[in-house]
């Protein structure tokens, strides 16, 4: 039986298997068709129906279930929904167990939430440091703004204020008002 206690392990392994079987296009297709449109359809339906309130309900529930020791922070502010992930339960599981088959596990989040947000009328500003830390800001597609200054939305809970956010050698992947997992922006100067 395939279990859920080690889900992130065989999920990450699956990305690498799919890439060997059908290239990057099949991995993208998997994130959108299997995760966004099938597995996580409860999230998609909630966010399409309720917008920011739906995001708060979905991530409030799912992050608490996956990370009961609160390795994350959620901020709702006018026109923006923000997540600061200080200790990703999913990437943390992989790091603790020495599992790395796919080139960038963190891409799967944009891989399924990107299309979900696009379909619901939102865009994403996001960075991840490949060390279990990331941040997300969701805004309506027509809204101005993006990549708010550190601390300006989530205060002291902003993950970018951590001393270990960008240590020497860490690579930050960055998205600016984006929903496509392959359209990363150049690193901020």
């Amino acid at each position: 039986m395939i279990g859920c206690h080690d889900f992130c392990g065989h999920y990450e392994w699956t990305f690498a298997w799919l890439e060997r079987a059908g290239g990057h296009a099949l991995v993208r297709d998997y994130w959108d068709a299997a995760i966004n449109h099938d597995s996580q359809r409860h999230a998609r339906e909630l966010i399409e129906r309720e917008g920011f309130a739906g995001m708060e309900k979905y991530w409030g529930h799912t992050l608490l279930e996956e990370s009961p020791d609160l390795g994350f922070n959620i901020t709702s502010a006018p026109g923006v929904f923000r997540i600061d992930m200080h200790d990703c339960p999913s990437k943390g599981f992989l790091r603790r167990n020495g599992l790395e088959q796919y080139c960038d596990y963190c891409d799967h989040c944009m891989g399924w939430t990107g299309p979900m947000m696009r379909e619901a009328g939102f865009v994403i500003d996001h960075e991840h440091n490949h060390r279990g830390q990331c941040w997300w800001e969701m805004r309506r597609a027509a809204e101005k703004g993006g990549h708010a200054a550190p601390g300006s939305v989530s205060g002291a809970k902003d993950v970018r204020l951590r001393a270990d956010w960008g240590p020497p050698g860490a690579v930050l992947d960055r998205y600016v008002k984006e929903t496509d997992p392959d359209r990363k922006s150049p690193p901020a100067s």
Binding site: M1, G3, C4, H5, G9, H10, D38, F93, L99
Partner: protein, 167 residues
């Protein structure tokens, strides 16, 4: 160093049951895009590769290692009712309530009808790596998995013994 029979462990005692949605969706995706042969190949590769540490532990530890693995496995899965019995030449895992089928039904998910066959395809691949045999009977929410040494001389798997899932 971990003393758990599970090769990959988490800080939480049990996994999040909503991940069963993703496993069911992964099967649906593979069956749609790659057909049944592709789905079977995925499961066999998963069994040989991702589960290689377990397979090695089973080969080294024999049936007691198989039994302790499955006890730890189902303790980490939420919502199941399972009994693991060590018998001469075999281990029987009596799944009275499958945690995955239970959660998928509770969430009103359309379950792929082939779902229960994954336990046999995956289990058979893992058992072969460990020098064992695996058979499955039942399905659709309750089943019996048998892992046995070659000395048990189990009859071949009867495909009809594995029930399709009725969503």
């Amino acid at each position: 160093m971990s003393t758990s029979p599970l090769p990959y462990t988490d800080t939480k005692p049990q996994g999040s049951a909503d991940f069963y949605y993703a496993t069911n969706a992964t099967f649906r995706f593979l069956l749609a895009r790659l057909g049944e042969d592709g789905w079977r190949r995925y499961l066999r590769d998963l069994g040989r590769d991702y589960f290689a540490p377990v397979n090695r532990a089973w080969r080294a530890g024999g049936l007691p290692a198989v039994a302790s693995y499955w006890r730890a496995f189902f303790a980490a899965e939420p919502g199941g009712e399972v009994e693991v019995r060590e018998l001469p030449e075999r281990v029987e895992i009596n799944v009275r309530v499958c945690p995955a089928i239970r959660h998928l039904r509770a969430g009103n998910r359309e379950i792929v009808r082939e779902y229960c066959r994954h336990c046999h395809i995956l289990g058979e691949a893992r058992a072969a790596e460990a020098g064992l045999q695996m058979r499955l009977s039942g399905g659709d929410g309750a089943c019996v998995h048998t892992y046995a040494t070659p000395a048990a001389a189990l009859p071949p798997q009867d495909p009809a013994a594995i029930r399709e899932v009725a969503s």
